[in-house]
Amino acid sequence: MTSPLIRAQQAAAEADAALAELFQTQYAAMHRLAVLLGADDAEDIVAEAFYQLYRRWKKLRGADKAVPYLRSVVCNLTRMRLRHLQVVRKHTTPETAPEPGTSAEAEALLHDDQRALVAALKELPSRQREALVLRHWLGLREAEIAEAMGISPGAVKSHTSRGMAALTRVLEERR
């Protein structure tokens, strides 16, 4: 029979091991997700997301809920950051205004068409952009996207179709 103290230590060690594994396996994916969503400080956002996961680890309904929770935090923090940048841009001169996430090194490897598509993606409202990235980069289902974005599956469908229509329009205008 084990004492409550030993059981608590074992639970803490298990949680630490699970967090360490998640950190190693999910850090890069979350960083890429933040950049694709338009974050200019993706590293800070991912660090904050992992800290939130560390804080709420005991409240998670299971270890399999950790990755959806991380995705949801990254989406929320990126949306907040983009809103903050919009406010800053409104109150500063165009020369000094910060640009939203421009992964210049990553974009350098793209073709012209792809660059145009990325530029069009950046112009979309943040909800539409999130829905498109989660659907077409991560390949998530509507229910999973709804969970990550904190909206209903119907709203996900609406954001995805509107975003896709806007991108199609931009690509057709380029031809």
Binding site: D16, L19, A20, F23, Q24, Y27, A28, H31, R32, V35, L36, A42, A47, F50, Y51, Y54, R55, S103, E105, A106, E107, A108, L109, L110, D113, Q114, L117, V118, L121, L132, V133, H136, W137, M164, L167, T168, L171
Partner: protein, 92 residues
Amino acid sequence: MRSTEDRLRETLGALAAGIEAAPPAYKRARAEWRRRERRRRLVLAVLVAIVFALADLIGLWALNQTRDHDPIIFDDRSRIHQTEPATGVIPP
């Protein structure tokens, strides 16, 4: 002719592949989380202590403002000196 969805998928894949994202050392990250958590709890404890101390001080000040022998919690003296209303009903 490829659809917009295919092109978007390909573009996002290419863009993501170009992003370098090596995770920092886990031990350092965990030490930072623990430091932040300690600080958060300390700030919370200080705030609770401040609110508690303020409530105490306000209570003591309120008690100090009253005259001696004045009831503070429940004052029923007004009813003692009040005459009974004339209802016309005579008790048996």
